[in-house]
């Protein structure tokens, strides 16, 4: 075959090989492993059918993990979206003061989760943390942010929201700025109230952005790991144990490879569903744009 026919294949080959080796093949391998029992050391993998999945759902700890993950995701995503939208409406201004504020709000996004986690561990320290000092100022009692099972998950939500607001706000601002000016002028001519303009014009025009941020936020929250690994190690009493941390623990600490692969397949399935849902909704919405 002539070189010019082969050339495009040669040019995409390195990238495609990397994708196949480190993304496509591992998925297949993980699905294969989820039907087997294996402790990583023994030479043979024993086929056990659906047993790993059955025992996942039979495990009380795993049900808790699912609950934690869902609560964490619902709280993180909804709080981040609402706060970011309000901030975006406020900070949507090209003035230099505003771009400075935007930069400040965005700064946690580019900081390593290791540092963010440790900084908040320090801020949330029960005895010497700044957060409790602040509560004391208002005459409130100390909160054991990370060491009390009833607040620990919510404390992690606070950290995630703090880190995520900047990114979400700037995406919302980009969305707001892409709404044509003349639509607002028309609304003004109609003497539409501010609230009405928001509900009838701004929010519908922003809906693709809203979908995008909600789905991306959910996908990211489902995989929360770093803050848990550094701040709580899943505790106290399993109150902050979530999906990826659970997979990590069962794979690397207890060497139940098949079992933790089954949990991985389940997570992959959920994330896949969310992605498909996103594209479905987006396809429906496209004609509005």
């Amino acid at each position: 075959m002539a070189w010019h026919k082969l050339r495009p294949y040669a040019m995409i080959a390195p990238a495609i090989v990397i994708f196949c080796l480190f993304f496509i093949y591992p998925i297949g391998y993980m699905i294969y492993l989820s039907f087997h029992e294996w402790n990583f050391v023994s030479p043979d993998k024993q086929f056990v059918g659906m047993q790993n999945f059955a025992s996942l759902f039979g495990e009380r700890e795993f049900i808790e993990v699912m609950q934690n993950t869902f609560i964490y995701t619902a709280l993180t995503v909804s709080l981040t979206i609402v706060i970011s939208l309000l901030l975006a409406l406020w900070l949507n201004n090209n003035g230099s003061v505003y771009s400075l504020v935007q930069g400040a709000v965005f700064s946690p996004h580019i900081i390593s989760l290791v540092s963010v986690s440790m900084l908040w561990m320090w801020l949330m320290d029960t005895d010497y943390g700044l957060l409790n000092w602040f509560l004391n100022l208002f005459g409130l009692a100390n909160v054991s942010w990370l060491t009390d099972p009833s607040t620990s998950l919510f404390s992690l939500v606070i950290v995630a929201v703090w880190k995520g607001i900047g990114f979400n706000t700037l995406i919302f601002i980009a969305g707001l700025q892409s709404i044509p000016r003349d639509m607002y002028e028309a609304a003004q001519l109609d003497e539409s109230s501010k609230a009405r303009t928001f509900w009838k014009l701004t929010l519908p025009m922003l809906s693709p952005t809203l979908f995008f941020l909600t789905i991306i936020g959910m996908i990211n929250s489902f995989q929360v790991f770093e803050t848990i690994s550094i701040m709580t190690q899943g505790g106290p009493i399993n109150s902050t144990n979530t999906f990826v941390y659970y997979i990590y623990e069962y794979g690397f600490r207890y060497f139940k490879i098949g079992y933790s692969s089954a949990a991985g397949v389940l997570l992959l399935f959920i994330v896949g569903l969310l992605t498909i849902l996103y594209f479905k909704l987006l396809a429906k919405r496209v004609h509005y744009r």
């Binding site: 026919k5 495009p8 040019m11 995409i12 390195p14 990238a15 495609i16 990397i18 994708f19 080796l21 480190f22 993304f23 496509i24 093949y25 591992p26 998925i27 391998y29 492993l33 990583f40 406020w90 003061v97 505003y98 504020v101 935007q102 930069g103 400040a104 709000v105 700064s107 946690p108 580019i110 390593s112 989760l113 290791v114 540092s115 440790m118 900084l119 320090w122 801020l123 010497y128 700044l130 000092w133 703090w162 900047g166 700037l170 995406i171 952005t209 995989q223 790991f225 770093e226 690994s229 550094i230 997979i247 990590y248 690397f252 490879i257 933790s260 692969s261 997570l267 992959l268 994330v271």
Partner: protein
């Protein structure tokens, strides 16, 4: 629109409070990193340390092979970036400029990878690396990210916008394709490449999860992992040393952010607006 002075004042105070919520924790980090251990444990807290204890940084740096961590982080982040450029530029060019059988299939495959985060498939990749004997080497940290679906997507968009006449003229002069890429495509797509480079470098510089999974000894550990191990120094947590250690990780990024704020924000926001 009415603009009253009171309204302006309230708006200004509000903006200031917002900045505080996001910047103050970093200020607190800096303040703590200069304190003595005793000062960190006073309540109510001291805002400015009595003496600036520079020793905390030395303590943090000497508590492990931090130069090694730093070097590993640099090799991994830069290595990934170089390999990504080598793989995404030709791929993006092929997807943008050639018609070939199966191109949409391969592009779909690329887009699927964009949807699969490493956090989902670390276990099988770990087993793979183990069977290749690459665990606990820098290769295990670099190879999986040697290409980037996001980069290909971004670059393809910008390559497609370059007018065909420009390429026709070059081909008429019998310029080889690699020369077209080097002399025409890359210079035009330079802003996109810089944007992508910032995004890629910062993401991998900060990464904690992948090195945690793939390394077992100090020989391949990176800075974020080294910092996370600081917790175990001296039994109890020494917050001053811990915060000093984190400054080593955070300050370079914040300095870059200060000077290239626009580009960095664009790099990260690009993922959302497409």
């Amino acid at each position: 629109m009415k603009t009253s002075y009171l309204g302006k004042l309230i708006n200004g105070i509000g903006l200031f409070l917002i900045v505080c919520i996001f910047v103050f924790p970093f200020v607190w980090m800096i303040s703590t990193s200069f304190k003595t251990l005793g000062e960190t444990l006073t309540f109510p807290p001291k805002w400015i340390p009595e003496q600036f204890i520079w020793e905390n940084f030395a303590k943090a740096w000497n508590s492990g092979p931090f130069f090694k961590y730093f070097l590993n982080s640099l090799i991994v982040s830069v290595g990934i970036l170089i390999l990504q450029f080598l793989t995404i530029i030709p791929a993006a060019y092929a997807f943008a400029r050639y018609k070939f059988a199966g191109s949409s299939l391969f592009f779909a495959l690329t887009m699927i990878t964009l949807m699969i985060p490493g956090q989902l498939i670390f276990l099988p990749v770990y087993l793979q690396m183990s069977s290749w004997g690459l665990l606990d080497t820098l290769w295990a940290l670099i190879l999986p990210f040697a290409s980037s679906a996001f980069g290909i997507f971004m670059l393809r968009q910008s390559f497609m916008q370059i007018p065909e006449e420009l390429l026709e003229a070059a081909r008429f002069d019998e310029a080889p394709e690699w020369k077209i890429i080097l002399k025409i495509m890359i210079p035009i797509a330079k802003p996109v490449l810089i944007t992508f480079a910032l995004f890629s470098f910062i993401s991998h510089w900060n990464d904690y999860f992948w090195p945690l999974v793939m390394t077992t000894s100090d020989s391949a550990r990176t800075l974020p992992l080294g910092i996370s191990k600081l917790r175990e120094v001296d039994g109890g947590i020494a917050w001053n040393v811990l915060m000093a250690g984190n400054m080593i990780l955070v300050i370079p990024i914040l300095i870059v952010f200060f000077f290239a704020q626009r580009q960095i924000i664009r790099a990260f926001v690009y993922t959302g607006v497409k």
